[in-house]
Subunit: 221 residues, 2 copies
DNA sequence: ATCTTGGGAGAATGGTATTCTCCCACGAGT
DNA sequence: ACTCGTGGGAGAATACCATTCTCCCAAGAT
């Protein structure tokens, strides 16, 4: 407190100016790293790039990299967060346009499923693959990266609930979390060439049917 | 063919004796590696051991290790497969004892959920965590490791279907796959300390409700 | 007795993340 | 204009591991 009042406004402003400049510079650099990484991922269609590649591509230095990121994982997390937030926005836009909440949810599920497929071509391709890698090592960060997407599903779920379209015993937000995670994971695991028996690849519709209606015909005590 | 008839029985028998001995030796060694790895995992409550640790613990050599396993991942896969098969047997035993197929499925879901929790204490603890790590690098192997567990769920699902307890549009085996994977993944992702809002940890019952009944009150065209 | 060979020990290699060290260029103060 | 301090570039050094290689011996085969 006393230090605060002892530091007059001019000093605070001076400090602020300098820190603001620094912040801007930092943001620009971070942005460059992110873009470089993004490019590389798109090019090689995989997330296992090396830090060195990113540094080279962004014409900066290793030192600078580690000055801005706590490690490779923070870069990954940042990319993941971005991609997920963007995707969440798209999904919200599409889903909330539907008057019927359940139809909106179906749209959301389908879209999330598609974007979660590990297709090495699209722009939002493998952003889910390291989701699972990171999930184990940095669970809380991944969780918070999921947040925007979860919010979308929670909104839709709440609308459905308000319209009396949900099974009564459900807490909407938890249902939203289960749907979101199931869809993402099922999309991931489905992307394998089926061996023999029943050419595995799940479809978005199957997953929707499962999430919406479950499998049981009746309730079980 | 001619070579076959030129090689008399004694030679084949001799060869067989030697290969059989070799096979036995190999199996013993592999077993030792597996046990050592198992122990280490239990001790440190995590799957990120080094190959060297396993070798030391099992009183064998690196060379021998790479002679019996194509790499670390094969060891992991083997452990994973074992654990999953054991678990599948237990679940089958418990679930098939229930006369009502849906009750059996509920039992199966609950058990699978419990054993999939990344609890660092139990015996079958982190066998699911590298499931996801491996899923990306060795999808087909993981898939085949899942097979026994999938079989259990498919059996139960088929029973339910036969008893007319399933939503009609469902293919039982695909439903089984979705249930199994959802349960495993949800158990994984739930095991994080909830930050603030709604103390996340899902329960087995919630997951069962979700898988069995979905969230929608009515069907959506 | 010698030859063959499986396998133990552990050094060597290779790939990466992460840290460290040197050094320069640029802006601030004199 | 002349230092001086500092942020940051370049890239060498380090730390870990997985994986491979080399040397060598001991036991069974001939």
């Amino acid at each position: 407190m006393s230090t605060l009042s002892e530091e007059p406004a001019w000093k605070q402003r001076a400090v602020e100016r300098s820190t603001k400049a620094a912040r801007l510079r930092a943001e620009r650099k971070v942005q460059q790293f992110l873009e470089a990484a993004q490019e590389i991922i798109l090019e090689k269609g995989s997330t296992d790039f090396t830090v060195q590649e990113v540094v080279d591509r962004s014409r900066q230095s290793l030192r600078s990299f580690y000055q801005h990121f706590g490690g490779k994982h923070e870069l990954l997390l940042a990319l993941f967060e971005n991609a997920l937030r963007r995707s969440a926005d798209e999904i919200r836009a599409a889903a909330s346009a539907e008057p019927d909440p359940l139809v909106g949810l179906r749209v959301a599920v389908r879209m999330l499923f598609e974007t979660s497929l590990p297709d090495p071509s699209t722009q939002h391709p493998l952003f889910t693959d390291f989701a699972t890698q990171l999930l184990m090592s940095y669970p809380t960060e991944v969780r918070s990266a999921h947040e925007p997407m979860l919010a979308v599903f929670a909104e839709m779920m709440a609308r459905a609930d308000a319209a009396g379209q949900l099974r009564s015993a459900l807490r909407p937000r938890r249902a939203a979390a289960m749907v979101m995670q199931s869809v993402m994971f099922l999309a991931q695991s489905t992307a394998v060439a089926g061996e023999g028996e029943s050419a595995h690849p799940l479809t978005a519709d199957e997953v929707w049917e499962f999430c919406a209606g479950g499998f049981a015909l009746r309730d079980v005590a």
